[in-house]
Symmetry: C2
Subunit: 299 residues, 2 copies
């Protein structure tokens, strides 16, 4: 199988894991369960759970405790999209070619669906303790939960969303603020993915710290690449309108530093990330290819 | 000290515990941190953390691991109020005599503040593992986290909120549905409080199950008492408009069963709860008084 075929099978595997933890649509609260499943099953590449499992495999992790965390992280990513799309936030009516959750279920139900997904994420992750055979595993799962909470929360993703909302409402967007937004809105969940994979595989603190830095580089590079494509790609290739950042007066990395330096930085950041991934005693070649793919992608 | 004085000092203790886990208002995400603190520090009796700690004491619990859970549960209660008040939900402009969070910070920021609080709740609770001395405590904390997730989520509080929103949008409100809403919207977090207190104190499954039943009775009785007061009290005593349920065409327990049976049921439910609390080898008289107070209160 070539890389794209392997990636496709990994995406299917991540979807199957996720599906195990999604609710059956029954009971008096049926509507919110439908809205949750509608929003989570909208597709996507499932990159975060894949990055998590591949980081787990890099450190020769064993056992099922990774699965609830894979599902939990994807739930957190999806709840953030449901709430981001709300009229109170970005007011988006379409995502991935389908109506957004609030457009289908109403904005009150979309608030509850997002809350339900975020809560279900932690409920699901806490379920991993069922696979804890001994105190060591119990503590690893506890550590993974703490990372999940931190990187998703007010010192992680929600912090980034807040600064982004403020910037959209007219706060002055400096380079420092832009980097804060990218680090937290984009890189934090990638850090959660790679750090949790490492922790659950029993990697030591030093290795987990190295994964945090690698994931930072990947997240920032991924975001700069997004900004580059918005300028250089075509609507046909990208599957969404190009030039939207400029139209929305969004200050981007490209607008700040120009195309050439942006491309150079993507290259530098990804090389640093790959150097870290190659520095451990064990290797995961698919993970290395995936990182390269994410950063050199054309859509 | 009489009961009211003790209750006041317990409320102050719960507030002090909570304050330890609230964020400092600094950084690029400052605005969401302000909104979080504004909503949490709006006051209230802090009944849930008090019920949790008193249940912990009933079973002679020791150690600091109860504190992050006390804070976490109060955060969850408060995030649900922040989101309930949103224009997309109940569209309330005042709560406890102050402007609601969205009225002060805007509805986008209120969505993020609620998300931030919910996330912070689990982040805080997961911090309890720092107090786990051995595998037994590690597993107790894991159990407490699972209860917190379940009772707050789509099979608990969020389930109740969903059914309530549906009922307000015109779904037929039957007795069965009304009980489902009360059980999940009101009783579920009281169950979380009392079960988590028991689990963290090392109570066995049978005792935790008994606390779940006692808390169910307390939650339902508390809610019926609310409905009774809405009919029988005065605006002066209650500090909020009376008769609002009838005005809002809300089907309540009192409307379904009449005042007399409602009062009888409150008495029966509270007696059953007290019988359970008196059935253990150890007793907590303050907890028993608190339960009686909650159910016989006049505001």
């Amino acid at each position: 199988m070539n890389f794209e075929e392997i990636l496709k099978s990994k995406t299917e595997r991540a979807e199957a894991v996720l599906a195990q933890y999604l609710p059956k649509e029954t009971g008096f609260q049926k509507k919110v369960l439908e809205a949750i499943n509608y929003s989570v099953m909208a597709g996507g590449k499932r990159l975060r759970p894949i990055l998590m499992e591949e980081s787990f495999l890099l450190f020769h992790g064993e056992g099922k405790q990774i699965e609830p965390f894979m599902a939990a992280l994807e739930m957190i990513h999806n709840y953030s999209l449901v709430h981001d799309d709300l009229p109170a936030m970005d007011n988006d009516e379409y995502r991935r070619g389908r109506k957004t959750t609030w457009k289908v279920y109403g904005d009150g139900m979309a608030v509850l669906a997002g809350d339900g997904l975020l809560n279900l994420a932690f409920e699901t992750a806490a379920g991993a303790f069922a696979f804890a055979q001994d105190e060591k595993t119990c503590r690893q799962i506890a550590g993974a939960l703490q990372i999940l909470g931190k990187k998703s929360g007010i010192y992680g993703m929600i912090g980034g969303q807040t600064a982004d909302l403020e910037a959209e409402s007219g706060a002055e967007l400096t380079e420092e603020l832009l980097l804060y937004i990218h680090e937290n809105k984009t890189a934090a969940l990638i850090q959660a993915a790679m750090m949790i994979g490492a922790i659950l595989a029993g990697a030591d603190d030093k290795a987990v710290g190295a994964m945090e830095r690698a994931a930072y580089n990947i997240g920032i590079a991924f975001q700069i690449q997004d900004d580059i494509l918005d300028v250089t790609s075509t609507t046909e290739i990208l599957g969404k309108p190009v030039g939207s950042d400029e139209k929305n007066h969004k200050l981007t990395y490209v607008a700040l530093h120009g195309l050439e330096k942006s491309r150079e930085d993507v290259r530098r950041l990804s090389e640093e990330a790959l150097a870290i991934l190659r520095s451990f005693e064990t290797r995961n070649e698919f993970l290395e290819e995936l990182v390269q793919f994410l950063i050199t992608r054309e859509k």
